[in-house]
């Protein structure tokens, strides 16, 4: 096993991934909280404010200069929704010492900068620097307003929002402009102090690294000072079975575009862990590849759409069908899509379709280890769902899925929301 995990203190976990596939090392710190309306905007803003300066490197410019000098080490941060959790993610990637033109030790230095960014922010008068908070508020406002720029993404986000109205998962990960206005340097810093005491902390190191990197981590004063905690987050274990929807919700919105975006949110009325493998296969047969029903029958045969596919949101038991359609054709497209769902229920697909779908999933799961970021994400999602399934086991379970199981899942799939974005 190239993956090792160590619970350092209650609520604080180290993860080490050994890999020699890359020229780089990747370090990551994830802070996980429950997704809720009260904190979602604060988390998004906080992540942005933290990258502005540390006690030692007091401005973004100084941080950038330090990273550039380390052969362009790259820092990145952001917020993600993972099930009903909101995760603040901080990454630092640097070239492995082996590939530098001269002898230097970058990894320790890198880890220090990353810890500094998250745990020792730059302060003025006992709070975040006013200018940084104001600047980032303005930026975040533009990001929230920028939601409309990518039409396909916007349509998807809106469909999720409608499906999960008044529930955590319906929240926009960057938060809300009206909540942003209430945040200032003082109350954001107070929130930070409280949050950092209770948040679930996961620290990942990935690369061709010695085990002593973990010891270096433990010797860090910052890490030593962190107290154990009862981390307040949602385990993405099993959702409650979703209620039967009597009539699917249809939402139509207008924006000036040449192409209708159609998103159909489907509920999977089954919450068993084992069913998730069958749902994965279902999704690929429906819309997860160029051989899928969506691609073949909506795009190729009917020439109705340029894009047609589906994706499976595992943590929430949803499948989303997505299309870009020529405006006059959208009724016809909806009809053909419904027909594809019916065919899935009727078992109107072949053993070859199933084999093809499994091969596609095997290839995609098998290549998780080919990217440091996706390998970290894989182990982190297991951390949040409190299960350990190795990549090999995962592939084995996919390959055990039978046609009967897929049809059984298909019969438990219902349309929750139909979302149109049109001219």
């Amino acid at each position: 096993m190239n993956y090792k995990k160590e619970d350092y203190k209650n609520g604080i976990t180290f993860h080490k991934i050994n890999t020699n596939k890359f020229k780089t090392n990747l370090f990551a710190i994830f802070l996980t909280t429950k997704l809720d309306r009260e904190n979602v905007t604060k988390n998004a803003l906080l992540t942005a404010v933290l990258r502005r300066g540390t006690k030692k490197l007091t401005s973004q410019e100084e941080i950038s200069k330090a990273l550039e000098n380390m052969y362009g080490a790259s820092f990145d941060c952001g917020v993600e929704k993972t099930g009903d959790n909101h995760v603040m993610k901080f990454y630092l990637e640097s070239i492995n010492n082996e590939f530098l033109p001269s002898e230097e030790n970058l990894s320790k230095e890198c880890l220090e900068i990353l810890l500094d960014i998250v745990f020792t922010p730059y302060l003025e008068d006992g709070k975040f620097k006013q200018e940084y908070v104001d600047g980032e508020k303005e930026n975040l406002k533009q990001i929230i307003q920028g939601k409309i720029d990518n039409k396909a993404k916007y349509a998807y986000d809106r469909c999720v929002e409608e499906m999960y109205k008044n529930e955590p998962y319906g929240l926009y990960k960057y938060g809300y402009i009206e909540d942003l206005e209430k945040i200032d340097a003082q109350n954001l810093y107070e929130y930070y102090l409280e949050m950092i005491k209770n948040v679930k902390i996961d620290i990942f190191v990935s690369g061709n690294l010695d085990d002593k990197i973990i010891n270096e981590l433990k010797e860090s004063k910052i890490i030593e000072d962190l107290k154990e905690r009862n981390a307040n987050f949602n385990i993405n274990k099993e959702n409650e079975i979703k209620p039967q929807v009597e009539e699917p919700k249809t939402i139509t919105e207008s924006m000036q575009i040449n192409q209708v975006k159609l998103i159909i949110g489907l509920d999977v009325l089954d919450n068993r862990k084992e069913s998730k493998y069958a749902t994965s296969v279902y999704n690929v047969i429906l819309g997860g590849s160029a051989n899928s029903k969506m691609f073949q029958n909506v795009r190729e045969k009917a020439s109705l759409a340029y894009t047609a596919g589906s994706n499976y949101l595992r943590q929430k038991d949803n499948v989303f069908v997505k299309c870009g359609i020529d405006i006059p054709n959208f009724d016809k497209a909806l009809e053909i899509i419904k027909e594809q769902l019916k065919q899935m229920e009727d078992g109107d697909f072949t053993e070859e379709d199933i084999e093809n779908a499994k091969t596609i999933i095997d290839a995609s799961v098998g290549s998780i280890t080919e990217s440091q970021d996706s390998e970290i994400t894989y182990y982190f999602s297991q951390e949040l769902s409190d299960e350990v399934v190795s990549i090999e086991e995962y592939i084995k379970k996919i390959n055990e899925v039978t046609k009967e199981q897929i049809v059984e899942i298909a019969k438990k799939i219902q349309i929750n929301t139909i979302y149109f974005l049109k001219d």
Partner: protein, 425 residues
Amino acid sequence: MKIVESTNIKEKAYFEKLENGLNIIIIPKANTKKKYIMWGTNFGSIDNRFIMPQTNEEVFIPDGVAHFLEHKMFEQKNGRNSLDVLMALGLDANAYTTNDHTAYLFECSSDKFYEGLDELMDYVQNPYFTDENVEKEKGIIGQEIKMYDDDPGFQLYLNTMDCLYHKNAVKLDIAGTIESISEINPDVLYKCYNTFYHPSNMTMVVCGDFKPEDLLEEIKKRLIPKENQGEIKRIYEIEEDSINMSKKEVNMEVSTPIFMIGIKDKVPSSEEAVKRHIAIEIILNMLIGKSSDLYKDLYNSGDLLAEPDMDYEFTKQYAHVLIGGQSKNPELIYEKVKKEIENFKKDGLNEEDFNRLKRKIYGDYVVEYNNVSYIARMFLADNFKGINSFDYIEKFNNVTKEFAEQILNEVFKEDKMALSIVRPK
């Protein structure tokens, strides 16, 4: 096979030119499960007039043929679609068309590589165009063109090209227009196929855990013998040095304006291209990269939200510098960039900044070698420009501050600059 090694990053590339003219580049990568193969032809959207070597006939083709041909290559005589066949094997298959080349590719994470190679080499060597299948494709590509018409980033880029170039076909949509593709028929497609899909105009790049000699044999086995072909004479419009216009603005559905500054450059020779590229990247980072004074100013005033995208794009037919981003105030950014360039020219480049950013650029190049797909794409695109990708790592130390200053004066000229803006409605 000719072996080229990069000692800094500990990688090797094997080069072979077959008798029929096909270039093969193999970059072996131990420890990785993924394999990536690309088969490219030096035929892109700007090649719209040429003389067929077989018949000496001069051919004018409608805009968008290279891209149309790419779509149609997957269709087989037996009714199968090769993209589906490859996907069914669990291979991540795709194709794309740029201004100067078209590439067919797949990525493999399983043991199905050679089955994929069978299919790839079969469909690229066996075109099948009929009136019916060409007509049907017009609907699909029409949708794709419309999708890009809605894409503010794409329009911004095309408008920048329209500013910089008078006639060069880089200013046209790679996919053509609904009107231009309506003129495409099987005859045009076969003429282009027979000319440009000859091995002597193609390069294959493979990256993954391979023994190069064995892989080379596998490739040779699958090649259909073809008679050698003379050089394809391509005819391009003569492009003036000056720019076409200095500004273009449109309104679209965006929340904040987006902008792109373009600087037209002369086409660099293959020998000087790499050094020029490295120098320009260092200058761009010094000018408006994350640690620059200008970026700090613009970030603090809220005029820039993030580091702009900076790029130097070039082929054998054009070259330009691009700086693009999102801002409430694009004109202000444009003015400040121009002013900072003048300051740099006047004061010379700061030594400490230069050295630091040179280190950064080195790191950026090394990171490219993390991924078999980046490696293959880089070697293919560079090969069509006459460049060996390792040169970016190996020639790195030859880029001095003095050289960068020379490039600064040569390239960053106000009369070669233009601004494209997409504003909210």
